[in-house]
Amino acid sequence: MTNQAPEYSSNQSRKKFNLLDIFTRFREVGIIVFILILVVAVTLRAPSFLTINNLTDVLMNISILVIVAMAQTMVILTKGIDLSVSSMIGLVSMMVAFVLRANPDFPVVFSVLLGLGLGAILGLFNALVITLGNVPPIIATLGTLSIYRGMIFYYSQGTWINSFELPQSIKFLSKGRVLGLPNLIYIALLIAIIVYLFLRYTRLGRNIYAVGSNPDAAEFAGIRPQRIKFIVYLLSGIISGFAAVLWISRFESAQTNTALGFELQTVTAAVVGGVSTSGGVGTIPGVLLGALLLGIIQNALTLIRISPFWQLAAQGLLIIIAVISDKLLSRRIVRTK
């Protein structure tokens, strides 16, 4: 949408050391400070917050969010948005769960591959519509958000797959423990590291940033923006497909409203983590912290006995505060430079 270019003031002398400077340069510092304040405040009210069990719960609860937020981050970096992730997760998890119910001996590796494949096809459709059809990403994925969600209803005819209908092996995928921590946390961390390295050290990863910060310049530099966008939406589908299998494994069910509204959480994690919706700006550690902040807030609200009905409001407020503080800080920094 509208994107103001920063107004550079005349060349004032640059300050040597500025606390504000650190806050803006390293978005992560700001979130860490915020998280620390929150942790201290919550622990004072509810000492059970700082226990290994509870912290494991927090990490477990944000693991799938982290994985999908990685995909969302890559998409937002190209100045796009993928609102259909939640419906892709819902549809793929329903289809995989149906296969698992019919074939209890279906190997876990195959269900993961099946999830990846189905997700890839759904992502491919998004990618084709956005790049070939030149449909703005927000419109295209708003459309597929309801298309895929409707397909879940058509596919399942409104029925659910319950825990007892699923084989043990798939549940073990996320619940099995290594060194005392559930597998799911390691999987999320692994994906985050892969995406981090991919964005930082590969040519394709750098091209994603280039396309997002200036598509015209990127094109002159020999990058094909449409191709990068295509890849990003395809990846988003594949990662969502993977997340769908983990979702079945974690929640041991597939419902018609699986992951409903989840797209908002992924966007929140990315935006709070410092990814700019105008593209080209954002880091993976920031997004990890953004997701952690979301997880801690959700957990804390429950611990200090605030009705879960207010959680959504808190989440919305968080997005608003994050973008306002971003804007105000960047304005200040431009002025003090």
Partner: protein, 377 residues
């Protein structure tokens, strides 16, 4: 690259260079005419499929089902014409209606409660408008935040409760008819507002200024268009109308729940964009938007008569939204292909993609049945 606008412009200019005979594609330029054709097609097909389709009582009853979408669409056209977007309309509707319901449950007079709901919704619009116009944040992010915030407040107000037992004087707003005619009150209000909004958009300086902002904000700024004030006004207007739509919905249902209107923003944006309003701003008309609302309404009504689940109906509407932008572009591209040389690479890619989608749907329909057991046994 702007989507539809540029596409249409491109195809039209390039078509003009071509020898005559390609003129048939010019029909894509007149979006309203195309919509009218589609509406006629939908009416004819539906009338064939169900004897209950062309029934005045049914049509009158179903028309009031779309008035919340229609009401919220009016300011949405303004907002999208300026190149902005408001994702928070449906949440604002839920918030205002829930606040009114909460006050009603506490025993406050219904009209006072309704007024408070309207006020809160307008305040929500003020928040959006302030953040977009004064703090200069992108409207997509702002309204994504308030989309969650307003809906969260709605849940906060009512929780798992519902407000009901509204007096009949109030429910008249959503269920009543004008005099002895079949025209529902809400539809009459919508028609009145639609005329006002059309006149404002197409016949006033304010309306022209909206297009100016959407076409080129910088240029509009230097021509003396008060950009900030206009943006603020349209977001406040959107908040007010959304709150009003919330009252209409509550009156029609005779009750309020905090999840009222969840997902309606999609229908509102679909109706607007399908009506030919360019999502990047600067193009579109109110007539097109109203026609597309009519199209969506008739389509949903027809599908409802055929016993199609409402979620599956959303699939069709979503497809319609994408196809309405996708097809003209692809059509233009094919018409403008410089060479008709057969390209193996492209052909292979097309066949490959098609095969993938076919495989997906084969799996989609067969994986529900035990066929797979034989394969993977």
């Amino acid at each position: 690259m702007k989507s539809t606008a540029t596409t249409k412009k491109q195809s039209s200019t390039e078509i003009n260079k071509q020898p005559p005979g390609r003129k048939i594609l010019d029909i894509f330029k007149n979006w309203e005419f195309l919509l009218l054709l589609l509406i006629v097609a939908v009416v004819v097909v539906n009338a064939q499929l169900s004897p209950y389709f062309l029934n005045a009582t049914n049509l009158s009853r179903t028309s009031s089902d779309f008035m919340e979408i229609g009401l919220m669409m009016l300011p949405m056209v303004f907002i999208i014409v300026t190149g902005n977007i408001d994702l928070s309309v449906a949440s604002n509707l839920g918030m205002s209606a829930s606040f009114m319901g909460l006050l009603h449950n506490m025993g406050v007079n219904i009209w006072l409660a309704a007024l408070a709901g309207l006020l809160l919704g307008t305040l929500g619009g003020v928040l959006n408008g302030y953040l977009v116009a004064k703090v200069k944040l992108p409207s997509l992010v702002v309204t994504l935040g308030t989309y969650a915030f307003f809906r969260g407040l709605a849940y906060g107000f009512l929780g798992d409760q519902a407000a009901r037992n509204y007096p009949s004087a109030f429910t008249f707003l959503g269920q009543g008819k004008v005099g002895d005619t079949l025209l529902p009150v809400s539809v009459a209000i919508f028609i009145g507002l639609a005329i006002i909004f059309s006149l404002v958009l197409h016949r006033t300086t304010f309306g022209r200024q909206l297009y100016a902002i959407g076409n080129n904000e910088e240029a509009a700024k230097y021509s003396g268009v008060p950009i900030d004030r206009i943006k603020f006004i349209i977001f406040v207007l959107s908040g007010f109308i959304s709150a009003f739509a919330g009252l209409v919905l509550a009156a029609r249902f005779g009750s309020t729940r905090p999840d009222n209107g969840t997902g309606l923003e999609l229908s509102v944006i679909t109706a607007t964009v399908l009506g030919g309003v360019d999502i990047n701003g600067g193009q579109g008309s109110m007539y097109g938007a109203i026609l597309s609302l009519l199209l969506i309404g008739l389509l949903r009504f027809g599908m409802g008569l055929l016993n199609i689940q409402s979620q599956v109906q959303s699939t069709v509407i979503g497809l319609l939204l994408i196809v309405s932008i996708f097809l003209p572009h692809i059509g233009g591209q094919i018409a403008n292909l410089k060479s008709t040389r057969f390209r193996w690479k492209t052909a292979l890619a097309v066949v490959g993609v098609l095969l993938l989608f076919v495989a997906f749907f084969v799996f989609f329909f067969w994986s529900r049945t035990p066929v797979l057991e034989e394969i993977f046994g």
